[in-house]
């Protein structure tokens, strides 16, 4: 409760004492958007954790060993993540649905366990220290980038690219028989998602003092997935809201009790059951009349479509 009280009564002090949280929300929002982009084209991938890792490690390694300015490091990290995205995307293009998801899980863990943990330059199991981190200043690029990225992605979804993605998502076969180059567009979505994830990874290292392989595991990817899905995958605002809500939830209820994870889980389930389309999406609450509920008693909201 003090969380909200502070937020509304003294926003400046709230900002100052919660900077790290706000920055983390920003990073999570960008990550959720990266998932949204691929999801929009019908691909469920959990690979963003891996692309994040590429972006993050590249940036930190470069800033440790090369005397280049920080923006160059971040740019390189992002581009490299995109390149890896391309390489990973190629073989998995023809996989659909849950198979694609699992293949990407395989990629993430193989990257983390096989590569990162065994290559000395990455600091292996202990990760790397990032002495150039700036927990206070590092939030600025995040807060600046987020609206820009959101806007760009929104434009993309309204453009021809977005329509092609939607078509592919609805029915891949029909889309390709209509002349859409399915492989190209899917790859584009994949690579854009990878770029965004790499960028987010690079930004995140500059509010932390470290990079650590456990940050980039499938658990993280699944967490991002919950942000995107709970927030709503029909438009760009969804993942942002999802990230905002679910990242700050543990903080809000931290005060409440030791059972915050339980509450977290309960809220997640409630959200997904009563608003399976996500928080930010059309449609009312999905209320379903149980068979024992008397017919003439009204249940709030519109009922979900029968099926």
């Amino acid at each position: 409760m003090d969380f909200f009280i502070l937020l509304f009564t003294d926003p400046v002090r709230f900002y100052n004492s919660h900077e790290l949280l706000i920055a983390q929300i920003g990073v999570n929002a960008i990550l959720a958007i990266s998932l949204f982009v691929t999801f929009y084209s019908g691909q469920l991938t959990l690979a963003n954790a891996g692309f994040m890792a590429v972006g993050a490690y590249t940036t930190v390694i470069m800033s440790l060993y090369l005397p280049l300015p920080l923006p160059v490091d971040i740019l390189t990290g992002t581009l490299l993540a995109g390149a890896v995205g391309f390489l990973v995307g190629l073989p998995v293009l023809r996989l659909r649905g849950i198979f694609l998801a699992i293949a990407t899980i395989g990629f993430v863990e193989a990257l983390r366990l096989g590569v990162i943990l065994n290559v000395p330059i990455t600091g292996e199991g202990q990760g790397l220290k990032n002495p150039g981190a700036d927990p206070l200043g590092g939030i600025v690029p995040i807060l600046v980038s987020l609206p820009i990225i959101a806007y760009l992605v929104w434009r993309l979804t309204r453009a021809k690219l977005g329509h092609a993605w939607a078509a592919i998502r609805e029915d891949e076969l029909a889309a390709s028989s209509n002349g859409i180059n399915v492989a190209l567009y899917k790859m584009l979505a994949f690579v854009i998602g990878a770029l965004l994830a790499g960028y987010a990874g690079a930004l995140e290292t500059h509010i932390n003092f470290f990079v650590d392989p456990t940050e980039y595991s499938v658990t993280r990817a699944i967490q991002i997935l919950t942000f995107a899905v709970a927030g709503g995958t029909t438009n760009v605002l969804g993942p942002i809201v999802g990230a905002l809500f679910l990242t700050s939830l543990p903080e809000i209820i931290r005060q409440a009790s030791a059972y915050r994870d339980v509450v977290n889980g309960v809220i997640l389930i409630l959200v997904i059951i009563f608003r399976p389309q996500g928080i930010v999406a059309g449609g009312g609450f999905a209320i379903h009349r149980p068979h024992w509920w008397p017919v003439n008693w009204r249940l709030g909201g519109r009922t979900a479509s029968t099926g």
Partner: protein
């Protein structure tokens, strides 16, 4: 090397048992039940609780715990899955709601310390415990230069027996036929008069009971019971197993389990350290690229 092979066979049994439950739900119901690893953990926790806190003999505790885990499967169905089916929610929601449930299960155990709400279930919070020595007979045999642990042998035998029973049920009984019908085509099965809801419930019951059993055997043989055993160690590997073996195929899950155990141990012996797990996932990735239906899978599911 023989010792390492034995190690591989043993861990393979655990993976196989865990994966069979996983693949049962996925193959029949098209749902990836991510709460399965939490039930795995609860199988161990409940058995420990019955033995260490409530003083029941081990075998009794094990049977009771497996049954309770089956009931948890029903809980998963009624809380996380059925409401979504009723609302025609997109399949991905089932993924998320099972994640939520898993979160809850783990958090409950994690917070349970003496004097709290759940201290009748668990009192060690986030710590790792083992069964009280003497609670379970644990002989170790040294034959021909290799060590055979009694508990691990028991697990191997139990796993194989169970998988044979399950295979028989699926192929030769009516319940099994109904299961296969639902797996093939849910709508057609409904038209044939099969109650899909009941199939969901019974599949989840069996799957979770198996998962719980795998968990308690894990805790027993590896002397490790904590709120995190499902999450850290078997959740993703279970996924790798069902992919390697073929999703929806029970013999596939079994073979996949042993295969993974073997890959891990061989990679460990050859390369040491973490490469072993990395290799397992690389194998997963390759299998999906080359042969998405795995070794034994017959159908290629297309939905998300």
């Amino acid at each position: 090397m023989t010792q390492q092979l034995l190690n591989a066979i043993f861990i393979g049994s655990i993976y196989a048992l865990f994966a069979v439950g996983y693949t049962l739900v996925f193959g029949v119901l098209d749902v990836l039940n991510l709460a399965h690893s939490a039930v795995f953990m609860l199988g161990a926790v409940i058995t420990y609780s019955l033995v260490a806190i409530h003083g029941l003999p081990f075998i009794v505790a094990a049977v009771v715990a497996v049954f309770i885990c089956g009931l948890l499967g029903l809980l998963i169905e009624f809380v996380a899955l059925r409401p979504l089916r009723r609302r025609n929610a997109p399949p991905i929601s089932a993924l998320i709601s099972t994640i939520g449930l898993a979160l809850i299960f783990v958090a409950i155990v994690e917070q349970a310390t003496p004097g709290t709400l759940f201290s009748w279930l668990w009192q060690d919070g986030a710590n790792s415990v083992r069964f009280p020595s003497g609670a379970v007979p644990d002989p170790t045999y040294h034959i021909a230069g290799v060590t055979l642990e009694g508990t691990k042998l028991g697990i191997l035998v139990t796993s194989i027996l169970l998988m044979l029973v399950l295979g028989y049920v699926i192929r030769y009984t009516q319940v099994g036929r109904a299961l296969r019908a639902v797996a093939e085509n849910r709508r057609a099965a409904t038209l044939l008069g099969i109650d899909v809801d009941r199939i969901f419930a019974s599949t989840l019951f069996v799957s979770s009971a198996l998962g719980g059993l795998a968990g308690l055997l894990f805790g027993l043989a590896l002397s490790d019971i904590s709120p995190y055993i499902g999450r850290d160690q078997v959740e993703l590997k279970g996924l790798a197993v069902i992919v390697l073996g073929g999703m929806g195929s029970i013999p596939g899950a079994v073979v996949g389990g042993y295969l993974l155990g073997l890959i891990e141990v061989v990679a460990f012996v050859r390369f040491g350290s973490n490469v072993e797990a990395g290799v397992a996932f690389a194998a997963l990735f390759l299998m999906l690229v080359v042969r998405p239906q795995g070794l034994f899978g017959a159908r290629l599911k297309e939905r998300l």
